[in-house]
């Protein structure tokens, strides 16, 4: 078979022909842990949506691997149901027909050598029947403790070997370890088998349109970048709030906590994108270089007790429903010190950001589900209006809403109509749902396509992951040895300690 990836030589491809979408080359996707929630709610629908948009290659194959005793048809039925329920685009028979031809299921446990032999047989069969050309991505939707064994099995059975121009890629989900040491260990295990550029770490936030829009907003416009620095910015608040509790995930969550679960990956990535310098180009290397630089310049507060807060939700009412406290959740240790809320203050030691605090907070059972980046500006150095006129005037702000209701809000002062001079805050809103597609692609669609294309722009790299742990580890250590988590009633915006933390700096949290 001739070598693949010869796009340059294809006379039908032309850079100027912008209607032609990027279609992945011949390939297949193997999902480990295919019976899990993520796989059903996100991965399978994303695969279907990609096919429906015509972005998957003919002959694309989907292989499920799980313990359950399923025949290929049962698996296809399961995918069918998941797609019908969760896919973004309408269900179309002919698209389904295209997909179903390449669907296989392999039954087995992760330590079962026979199962991996069967998997290899399946892949070889697909190469023949579907023309996948030996190109397969292995999506590890499995608990972190199973990573090493699956990776080793892939190696042992020759599934990670790239032969004759084909590729094998590994896709892994967070958490990427639980501290620097374990992250390094995990990276070692993975890189022993897969080359670093064939490992894709999924941080689904980075696949979101709004997150990609941070770069467009900053670097495609002239009006924001000149004020995007310490001369004009007072501080930055990055919030990710969830209204739900831990649900039935106590086993996973207890001992991990909000900071490791959210701040280490999502929030530090958002911060890096907000604070980084302009990359030389929009390719993976240039982006990673800038993100690494800014993460490397992060400075922790001197007094961790003063400038960080960790807390747990207590019983209360959340949006009209009664909610139990974290310690009363089923499966949690009654003496657990796990944080369900974390707020930290970071500085960035470079010329652009010296002295500008970045406040990061995340929590469960907060007021509502929202993720946003708020860049809050300094007050005007001089106001010709008297103080009574500007009493109600806050600080200007640019807020990038990541989810839900993706968009950008600009807050500034405006005169209240009437005979007296009175200036008050108003918001100007740009909503993605309104100005562009209501149905923008799901993050997983974009990320799976990027994996198949081998485009690693939107995936954090090893160094970024390790740097993030370097930032978080001292804080986690401090929390382990000092005090116990503060409590906040469910359905509020966090503990009073967090409010006090900002008050000491003369600031306050935004109500998102």
């Amino acid at each position: 078979m001739p070598p693949f990836n010869v796009t340059e030589a294809n006379p039908l491809r032309d850079a100027a022909d912008r209607r032609l979408p990027r279609i992945a080359g011949p390939s297949g996707l193997v999902i480990f842990g295919v019976t899990g929630d993520l796989s059903r709610k996100k991965l399978m629908p994303a695969v279907y949506d990609l096919a429906n948009r015509g972005l998957l290659p003919p002959g694309f194959s989907l292989v499920g691997f799980a313990r359950r005793e399923w025949a290929h048809e049962d698996f296809a039925q399961e995918v069918h149901d998941a797609v019908k329920e969760h896919a973004r685009t309408p269900f179309r028979e002919e698209v389904w027909h295209q997909l179903i031809q390449g669907m296989r299921f392999v039954q087995g446990t992760f330590d079962d050598d026979d199962a991996f032999e069967r998997l290899r047989g399946t892949i070889e069969e697909l190469d023949k029947a579907q023309g996948t050309g030996g190109n397969f991505a292995f999506y590890l939707s499995v608990p972190p403790r199973s990573f090493p064994v699956v990776i080793q099995q892939l190696k042992k059975h020759g599934l990670a070997d790239q032969t004759g121009g084909s590729w094998r890629r590994a896709v892994i989900e967070k958490p990427f370890g639980h501290d620097l040491k374990s992250a390094e260990q995990l990276n070692k295990v993975v890189h022993e088998v897969f080359a670093p550029d064939q490992v894709f770490r999924i941080d689904h936030y980075l696949g979101k349109e709004t997150v990609q829009n941070i770069l467009a907003l900053r670097f495609a416009n002239t009006m924001f970048e000149p004020i995007w620095n310490r001369s004009f910015v007072d501080h930055v608040q990055i919030t990710m709030a969830e209204d739900i509790g831990i649900g039935g995930r106590a086993g996973y969550y207890d001992g991990i906590g909000a900071a490791r679960d959210v701040i280490q990956n999502h929030l530090l990535q958002l911060m890096a994108l907000t604070a980084m310098e302009e990359p030389a180009s929009f390719d993976a290397d240039a982006l990673a270089a800038e993100k690494t630089k800014v993460l490397g310049a992060v400075r922790l507060p001197k007094d961790l007790g003063r400038d960080t807060v960790f807390a747990q939700y207590a019983a209360g009412w959340q949006g009209g429903e009664k909610a139990v406290g974290y310690l009363q959740e089923e499966g949690t240790d009654a003496n657990s010190k796990t944080d369900t809320y974390a707020a930290i203050k970071l500085g960035i030691d470079n010329r652009r950001w010296a002295g500008v605090p970045f406040y990061l907070r995340t929590g469960k059972r907060l007021g509502r589900r929202v993720t946003e980046i708020a860049v809050v500006f300094q007050r005007a150095p001089h106001s010709p209006f008297d103080t009574t006129a500007t009493e109600e005037l806050g600080q200007n702000a640019i807020v990038i809403r990541v989810q839900p209701d993706e968009g950008v809000t600009v807050r500034f002062g405006s005169k209240v109509p009437g005979t007296s001079m009175e200036i008050r805050d108003v918001s100007m809103d740009f909503a993605y749902g309104e100005s562009f597609t209501e149905s923008s692609p799901e993050a997983y669609e974009r990320l799976i396509l990027d994996v198949l294309l081998g485009d690693s722009n939107l995936f954090p790299r090893t160094e970024e992951v390790e740097l993030s742990w370097k930032i978080l580890d001292p804080i986690e250590e401090y929390w382990d040895t000092h005090g116990s988590p503060a409590q906040y009633p469910s359905g509020t915006w966090g503990p009073v300690e967090a409010d006090e933390m900002l008050e000491r700096d003369g600031r306050s949290w935004r109500r998102p």
């Binding site: 001739p2 491809r13 002919e94 698209v95 295209q98 031809q101 023309g131």
Partner: protein, 387 residues
């Protein structure tokens, strides 16, 4: 919310738009473009429905310009403008104004449309039917960055393609071209998979479907090989067959939705290639507002050059290259050169002779003739002579 205005003016319509927006409580506008649909009463409903669906991806102000037919001399001297303003849930995601023009004002539609364009936002004009011969010179077309026509809806699609190519101005585009994007991307994907030299191509589809010609011209333009257009009973495009040095590559869609991709030495694969709704076409069209150079290049290839001569032979300047390519078929090279000369003087119907001698193309003479007939009648296409 709906506001009806009878015997009105553009400024009253503007007032109604602001009033409507205030009434539903969203005074801010996040619309990204103005879409002007120029149509007759018969096609207005379907076109507007498609535009409203597309507006979910591209929130826009949609202006529907309906020119009413005057049936008496008295009607023709009187002029009147009626408008129906829709905002909120009635108008997709955006605003819609349906303009009905009676009498003299219907010749001056641009005077009504100009004040209603969104400030500073791009303008797209779409003629679902009866597009003007030269869209860019049309008074309404002149307001737009992007002019969307549809040769599929015309009486003689193939002749209209030639006319479009004569008047092409950057920013022109054709829904018949938009329709074949999935085919093009699948064919490109097929060539991604096999490194090969394509020697000849056949594009098969129903008669009076200009998408087939456009696809054939695109392939001829990109691949520089003879492309044959043959007929089938449809629906739409039914097959593309590429003859390559590594065996045939075929994309076959018999039923209008599920296609089969066959590549020699590889298993057959099913590919979803559904014929798309107008709303999807418009949504794709609105995604990019810059001139479509690939379309221009395919269109300019010329319908009359299909079915006959390998592309290089026609380009005089590339004669040497053509000769080189033709070494293998030395005997035919002479015939081809003759054909090129013949073509310069005669309408293409006569020039199709050499196609019969082509070794690569499969025999489907009736098809080629039918297509040639359509292109040639009722008046000879002047372009062949011009080139």
């Amino acid at each position: 919310m709906k506001i009806d205005l009878t015997d009105t003016t553009a400024s009253k319509i503007n007032k109604a738009l602001v009033q409507g927006r205030r009434a539903i409580g969203t005074p801010a506008v996040g619309m990204v473009l103005t879409l002007v649909i120029v149509t007759d009463e018969e096609n207005a409903y379907d076109a507007l429905k498609a535009a409203n669906d597309a507006s979910h991806e591209h929130p826009s102000r949609t202006l529907v310009v309906i020119k009413r037919v005057s049936r008496s001399p008295r009607d023709r001297t009187q002029s009147r403008l009626d408008a129906e303003v829709r905002v909120g849930a009635d108008a997709g995601s955006g605003e819609t104004v349906v303009l009905r023009l009676y009498g003299e004002v219907s010749d001056h539609a641009q005077s009504v449309v100009l004040p209603l364009l969104l400030p500073d936002a791009p303008v797209v004009v779409w003629w679902p039917v009866n597009a003007p011969l030269d869209p860019a010179k049309d008074p309404l077309g002149a307001l737009a960055q992007r002019r969307v026509t549809d040769t599929y809806a015309s009486e003689q699609p193939v002749r209209e393609l030639s006319a479009r190519s004569d008047t092409y101005t950057p920013g022109d585009t054709d829904l018949s071209w938009t329709r074949i994007t999935p085919w093009r991307s699948m064919l490109a994907a097929a060539l991604d998979q096999v490194v090969c030299d394509v020697r000849a191509v056949e594009v098969e589809g129903e008669e009076f479907n200009p998408s087939c010609e456009l696809l054939a011209m695109w392939l001829a333009d990109r691949l520089d090989v003879p492309v044959k257009r043959s007929l089938s009973s449809g629906p739409g495009l039914t097959a593309v067959r590429m003859d390559t040095d590594r065996g045939p590559i075929t994309l076959d869609r018999a039923d209008g939705s599920l296609a089969t991709l066959s590549i020699q030495g590889q298993p057959d694969r099913a590919v979803a290639l559904k014929r798309r709704e107008t709303a999807e076409l418009i949504a794709e069209e609105l995604r990019r507002l810059d001139p479509d150079d690939t379309y221009a290049s395919a269109l300019r290839f010329g319908v009359e050059r299909l079915n006959s001569v390998p592309a290089p032979a026609v380009r005089g300047a590339e004669a040497a290259h053509a000769a080189e390519a033709a070494v293998a078929k030395a005997v035919q090279a002479v015939a081809l050169a003759e054909a090129a000369v013949a073509r310069a003087e005669e309408p293409p119907a006569e020039a199709e002779g050499p196609a019969k001698g082509e070794p690569a193309s499969e025999p489907s003479q009736i098809a080629a003739q039918a297509s040639g007939k359509e292109a040639a009648s009722p008046e000879p296409v002047k372009k062949a002579a011009a080139k």
